[in-house]
């Protein structure tokens, strides 16, 4: 059993921070608890943020998508505002986390704050340039998600609260493709690859390649991304795509564990990145006759 001295409820984000810092002893936030009940955190009390007004999903007039930190993965997976954004990529990510009952309580904030290399919401949010809103009683700070993760299980938060995430309107029209490689449908990722390409006038203007479970923290393969920027969608070459994928494989830092070897993970980054780039470009490029399955 998890030995807790106290369970506190926060009605607002401000109150959550105050309750956590007020002591006595060590406190932690709790949202869905689906990570915390598997690996109880060493603390004296927890502050529940499920009713602190952090569960909204909204689209601003400018078109940015806002996700409250305590939004459940089930709500993300079934929300029409989310379905309209970036070809439904967030829905795909959320609906592949765990199983149906876990998604009823598991939150997007918990997924990111737990900060595992395999956190399944991280790659898609990285690929769509998410910004994290972080608060304590005095100040609000916004941090790009790319700067949020420090090391496994460590973020820039300290005792501050993640309030929510904003995705820029510009990311809503990116062409996307993603793949979660697992041993079984419900297992955590061996490798996750998300590709999001901003295309204007037939050219790739922005490229994002985000990888999960292949480095100490979820990461972007920025050198591989650079390879794609400026390319014409219609006549990008298969060799160039393969090169970009190989660069991504060079950028990741996988390790061996009981699920897979580092070598296998790295090779899967190469294969899956190539396939996701092809898939993301599918409608317009002339080289998609190979749907990704045959050319190594």
């Amino acid at each position: 059993m998890w030995e807790l001295k106290e369970y506190r409820f926060a009605a607002t984000a401000q109150e959550a921070g105050a309750l956590r810092r007020q002591g006595p002893g060590k406190g932690a936030y709790i949202a869905g608890g689906t990570d915390m009940y598997l690996q109880p955190v060493d603390c004296d009390f927890v502050v529940d943020i499920n009713n602190a007004g952090l569960s909204d999903i909204a689209r601003t007039p400018a078109g940015d998508l806002f996700l409250g930190a305590a939004t459940t993965l089930h709500n993300i997976a079934t929300n029409p505002l989310v379905a309209d954004f970036a070809e439904g990529m967030l829905i795909q990510a959320a609906s592949h986390c765990g199983n149906r009952p876990v998604r009823s309580t598991a939150t997007v904030g918990g997924n990111l704050c737990h900060a595992l290399p395999s956190a399944d919401m991280a790659p898609v949010l990285l690929a769509l340039d998410a910004t994290c809103y972080i608060a304590d009683e005095e100040s609000q700070e916004s941090v790009p998600l790319a700067d949020f993760f420090v090391s496994p299980r460590v973020t820039v938060l300290d005792d501050r609260l993640l309030v929510g995430l904003a995705l820029p309107a510009e990311a809503a029209t990116r062409r996307c493709a993603s793949y979660k490689l697992t041993r079984s449908a419900e297992d955590i990722s061996l490798v996750q690859v998300v590709v999001a390409l901003g295309v204007e006038n037939g050219k790739i203007e922005t490229a994002r390649i985000a990888l999960g479970a292949v480095a100490p923290v979820p990461m972007r393969a920025v050198l591989a991304e650079a390879q794609l920027v400026g390319q014409s969608v219609a006549d990008i070459s298969l060799d160039l795509v393969a090169d970009a994928a190989a660069i991504a494989a060079g950028e990741c830092e996988p390790r061996d564990d009981h699920r897979a070897s580092a070598e296998y993970r790295r090779d899967m980054v190469r294969v899956l990145t190539r396939r996701q780039i092809m898939k993301a470009l599918h409608d317009e490029t002339t080289i998609t006759k190979d749907s990704g399955g045959t050319v190594a």
Binding site: M1, G32, L38, F45, R100
Partner: protein, 162 residues
Amino acid sequence: MKIEMELNGRAVTHEIDPGANLLSVLRGMGQFSVKLGCETGDCGSCTVLLDGEPVNSCVVAAARTHSHKVTTLEGLLGDPLMKELQQELVDKGAVQCGYCSPGILISLYAHFRAGNELTDHHLREALTGNLCRCTGYVKPLEAALTVAQNQQGGPDEQGGAS
């Protein structure tokens, strides 16, 4: 600490340990349909409804049910939809040892009640959180599809049509 929840439609007050999971508290309250299997959120034998949503009670804090509604199989025994689901599980031979059955019933009940689509695909999705070591899933799924047919008023349009 003391919590007040609505359990199966009745307001109840209960003394709990602040760190207790909902599974242990519900069993302590005599809700023995809530089974302890893995205690890691994987098997679904502890599935209950929290404000109408299926959850794995082993990975839910009991404390957070304060001021919320919890429903276990015990609370649904008189419900016509639940009766139909139970009967169909029995008729299709989808119950062997029965350990997974309460969880399967709660998951299906939640899926039907939420007005979700009742295709083969969606019913499989509804059962992703329930492991059954005896029947092998085909029979529970057949039972669910039969109830779906009855609900939709005819044997047509099964298996992915809607």
